[in-house]
Chain length 339, copies 2
DNA sequence: TTGTAGGCGTTATCAC
DNA sequence: GTGATAACGCCTACAA
């Protein structure tokens, strides 16, 4: 069943080295013999054994992508970007979640033990994330997404969360004339939420304001919980110059729908803005003002950096910072175009 | 740098076979020497070379998943299910899209040539899909998703689209008393759309009705295009007992929003139902009546079947048919619970 | 229980 | 331009 290079050689009546040459550097071999070999290859349906090949070449042309979760549009866009770029560079992409299931048999652990992969891109979005420990004595080339662990020792691609959140808050306070902003974030340990919350407080202070005692909430980034929260609080939040800054679009959408269900008009009675600019932002009525985070681009750059390091392990570590961009739509009561 | 089994052997002062035994069948080796070997392994940070290993064992413990696209929640749920199950079974998962980029360097082609993968699950959702040609003389174990190419020769997992669409149509005509149904599908070549459209026509006939000349549309499964279509036609569609059956939730959501924007009330003036039961269905106001397609389960079963075949290449081919389930919410004017 | 030796299928290094 | 032959790192009879 398994036809090897030797079979081809025999059929073509050449040595295995010649067959190997035909496959890899077809130019340095006489065209007549090459034709003979190629016929034999076709006839036998020969395909080189990838393991033997990898054993010699010490590479598989497979790279990995490890995300906290595979659920939701945010992550799927990263996968898409990464997958596309990987294939463009001649690599295949393995994906895995670092969260669900027993961590001890996540892709990362498997990789650390014995690896067919040439490198990995790992996203670390929780302060408490265990993956950091795994990365400490990691052999393979890797790049870290969304967060830096130790910037001098590895490549990374991060989103300038602060920039995006500052832009949004200033838009709210300056352009829309907001005077009270309620912040609805993800988990308190989530690095993105932390950065956005800090920017929220800073801009508030910049305008001589501060968050009231009940103005900051931590949820789970889900529509449903935000909708439920909205149903409970939306009437007390409502008011001229009042606005909700949700840390992602799903939650913003939930709050908009809750407000609408409660008989409020968005943005007239309450402004609501999101973050990420996923499809939900455009599918919410009114469409959400939000901050566009270039997710697919993040995947693209991750793979880009990773493959560069694979190609040259000695190169200096680099960090790519992606700038999110304010997208003004209709949920905040302003149509001023700010970028 | 690359520490091999020989280094461990030397340090532990045993032969390489003993080291190998410690790694693979630790029980058959004296516990004292085993301890020595394990110490050496730890000290050296030894990790077996996966290529050499694969060369002997002829397996990589990596399986592939090829989807038409990586974009959108539908596919990401499949990835999630597949990824989870794969890891449970001790495999890692490579994903790839068969669509974007030059087809000739898609994962499938790469695999056909030389493969590190132990098997692949491939989703074929367009009649015109080229992947079918690639599959014809495919060496590796593979399972086909969503569509059968030649049922006797390979495993497959399919969704009983017809069942779901029949249930929906009967619900509309029987339980909700609909008298006119507009069908908004995906591309005409899309196998799911074809099945759903057939069911649509059949149930119409069952009730002595038929599709009017302007009652069937083919779009692209996107919210935006459906919204645009809705804006143009929603007033003419409106009426008691009138309803739109969209072939996915995104389009249904777009039509609901268009109807709302046009001042119509859903479902009072126009019923709208979707398909798939993705998150959008719950994030639309009113929440969509739809058909729940077990996407994650499809991924799970795909990997399940694939791994079974890898384990036993001789086993009879099996087909798993997943039944979608009617989910009645508020967009169709009925709250009757039907399953 | 342990060691020796052969082979897995390639590619690379030499001769010729 | 082509052919032996030695790695590559591991597993597994088989022998001791």
């Amino acid at each position: 069943m398994p036809v090897s290079i030797a079979d081809v050689a025999k059929l073509a009546r050449v040595s295995i080295s010649t067959v190997s040459r035909v496959i890899n550097r077809r130019n340095v071999v006489n065209s007549a013999t090459r034709a003979r070999v190629e016929t034999a290859i076709k006839k036998l349906g020969y395909q080189p054994n990838a393991f033997a090949r990898g054993l010699m070449l010490r590479k598989s042309e497979i790279v990995g992508l490890v995300l906290p979760d595979l659920h939701g549009e945010f992550y799927s866009e990263i996968i898409r970007g990464a997958s596309t770029r990987a294939r463009e560079l001649g690599y295949n992409l393995v994906v895995s979640s670092s969260r669900d299931g027993d961590e001890s048999h996540s892709l990362l652990y498997a990789i650390r033990q014995r690896s067919l992969l040439d490198g990995v891109a790992v996203m670390v979005s929780e302060l408490t994330d265990r993956v950091q420990e795994v990365l400490v004595d990691f052999r393979l080339p890797f790049v870290v997404l969304d967060r830096e662990i130790d910037s001098t020792r590895h490549d990374s691609v991060v989103i300038d969360q602060r920039h995006g959140a500052l832009a949004m808050m200033r838009h709210l306070l300056h352009d829309c004339g907001a005077r009270r902003v309620i912040f609805v974030g993800g988990l308190e340990t989530n690095v993105d939420t932390i950065a956005r919350l800090a920017a929220y407080r800073d801009v508030l202070a910049e305008f001589g304001l501060h968050a009231g005692p009940n103005d900051v909430y931590h949820l789970d980034y889900q529509y449903e919980t935000a909708y439920a929260l909205g149903l409970r609080h939306v009437r007390e939040w409502a008011g001229a110059g009042h606005c909700v800054f949700a840390a992602n679009d799903e939650m913003a959408s939930g709050i908009v729908d809750a407000a609408t269900a409660a008989g409020l008009a968005v943005p007239r009675d309450l402004g609501v803005v999101g973050f990420d600019d996923t499809r939900v932002a455009r599918m919410t009525r009114p469409p959400l003002t939000t901050v566009r985070v270039p997710m697919a681009l993040m995947g693209v750059n991750a793979i880009e950096l990773l493959c560069q390091r694979i190609a040259d392990p000695q190169r200096a570590t680099t960090r790519i910072t992606l700038r999110p961009e304010l997208v003004v739509r209709e949920s905040c009561g302003s149509r001023a175009r700010i970028s």
